[in-house]
Symmetry: C2
């Protein structure tokens, strides 16, 4: 048996071909390869890059419980009414052991289960280095190369990695709830930075106008760009506001295309991805080193202060390259 | 002329010796070496590690304008009344071009200018990789090895790097102002996590009791440790509350020493520093690669989609190791 890290399985190309022919089971296996990373994932990256670059990606992020999945399901319904085909990636950077919540969320997406124009996939990684930072753009690229014109990337929480992933979409939607403006919350500034569109979801609750006003004030404090993020309201459970959200996504796409910002940002993201891949490859080497008997020995010598961290780093690095 | 990245200057050891003898100008040059990073910094790391591990470090952080410098100056006065020798590092991760503010702040420290028992140094880095994340623990270690029993690390703002730096001290003091509890502020959760002691400074202003109560409530929401962070009040400009702050710092030190937490955290920080150094070295290599003609050529091919990022990464990495 060959190690997946060393030799890519011959299946990658064949599976991709089957997925291109519309076989959902083949696509599911391709996406599992992406999640696992390693040689198969690299091969998929090589096989799909030339055919990609056509899909518009939409990132949806916000705190757990904000109603992202429900709103996203309503948004997909609107897209389908307009005969648009949509792929959804639900990205969960938490460990596979806490995967229960996302499975529960996905249940709300069952409306679209038998629709050939919708593809839904939950994504997690088995903790390999680079993880979702590398796996997500690759998963998007595979769907893009297979001809999906819209790829929605929904993240479960608002951790730094999730914010980066959602922010790397062509259009980023930040979903909040009434009261968000005055609540204590980590990463609020990070969310303000990445939002192309704000949605105050659960807008049937009190405090919605105040929250819209608070967001407007926070936006006014930041440096003005040539796109002024709209602040929409929605009730995900009834689908209220989903059509307006779809219209706003399309308006942002038109704007970013016209200004050349879309092309510039995509080019910058490919370059950043190259750096991420290089960094992950080197980190992989360091992690391998870190678990080595040498590293253990160095840590013991550090604890006894026989060796300083700079000398230990040099000794460790001398083993890699 | 040799490149500082390759060959350490022979001065590092001699300067350190002169600084040990009490020469302030030599110490200033040593600290500049730390700031610059590279081979001299690594050499200083190697020369000081064995003699270090005796100083107690105090991190002081909080939003700009919270009055950290003024309070810190009052704290140093209290320490001096108790015949304790104190070194202060004012850490500013912003670019050298915005260095004006910190110079202004430092003026308030002039009370201690002619006191041999006080050493004050502003620290910035010239943007080199690893930056203050590596330079600060090294600067602390140098002062520690030179026999300073107390090293206070004061950060200018509450960015992620600054919070990490202040949180890496043996005792971390978070300085806020009346009204902090209900204000919208980035990184509030981050500050709650690292605080061993809270100080509501400018406590002569309205809203002080409410802010103390808000902090208490926020603390009650977090997981209880065996140290319950006290919430103090102060007026930095009059020195009110500084003696109580000093007492709280000493109480925390006694507690952390007795429980073994101090030793455990220090050991963990040295291991984390090893990882940081390894990571910075790798980033350095990636950056060097990234500026190479090969990398430029690969980026152009990426833009034309002749090459995918995975293949480009492989070609780039084949050049390093």
């Amino acid at each position: 048996m060959t190690l997946p890290e060393r030799a890519p399985s011959a299946d990658a190309a064949a599976l991709l071909e089957a997925a291109r022919g519309g076989q959902r089971r083949a696509l599911a296996r391709v996406m599992s390869m992406v999640e696992r990373g390693g040689a198969d994932a690299r091969r998929l990256g090589m096989l799909t890059f030339a055919a990609s670059g056509h899909a518009h990606t939409v990132g949806i992020t916000g705190a757990p419980g904000a109603g992202k999945s429900t709103l996203n399901s309503a948004l997909v319904s609107v897209a389908r009414e307009r005969a648009e085909r949509v792929a959804v990636l639900a990205v969960d950077p938490s460990s596979p052991f806490s995967g229960g919540a996302i499975l529960g969320d996905r249940v709300r997406m069952t409306d679209h289960t038998f629709d050939e124009g919708v593809y839904i996939r939950s994504m997690a990684t088995r903790g390999h280095l680079g993880g979702l930072t590398l796996a997500t753009p690759l998963a998007v690229r595979v769907l893009d190369a297979l001809g999906w014109p819209w790829v929605v990337v929904e993240t479960v929480g608002v951790g730094q990695v999730e914010t980066e992933i959602a922010g790397a979409a062509d259009t980023t939607v930040v979903v909040v709830n009434p009261g968000w403006g005055d609540s204590v919350q980590a990463n609020k500034a990070g969310l303000m930075e990445i939002a192309d569109i704000f949605v105050v979801n659960k807008a049937d609750r009190p405090g919605t106008p105040e929250t819209c006003r608070d967001i407007r004030q926070m936006l006014d404090l930041s440096a003005p760009g040539d796109w002024d993020p709209p602040i929409l309201t929605s009730v995900g459970t009834t689908g209220e506001g989903a059509a307006e959200l779809w219209a706003a996504v399309c308006a942002h796409r038109t704007h970013a295309t016209a200004t050349g910002e879309l092309a510039a940002q995509r080019a910058a993201r490919v370059e950043a991805e190259l750096d991420d891949i290089v960094r992950a490859s080197i980190s992989q080497r360091v992690a391998t080193l870190s678990g080595s008997p040498l590293a253990q020995q160095l840590r013991e010598r550090l604890a006894r202060r026989e060796l300083d961290p700079y000398a230990a780093a040099e000794m460790l690095l001398a083993e890699t390259c």
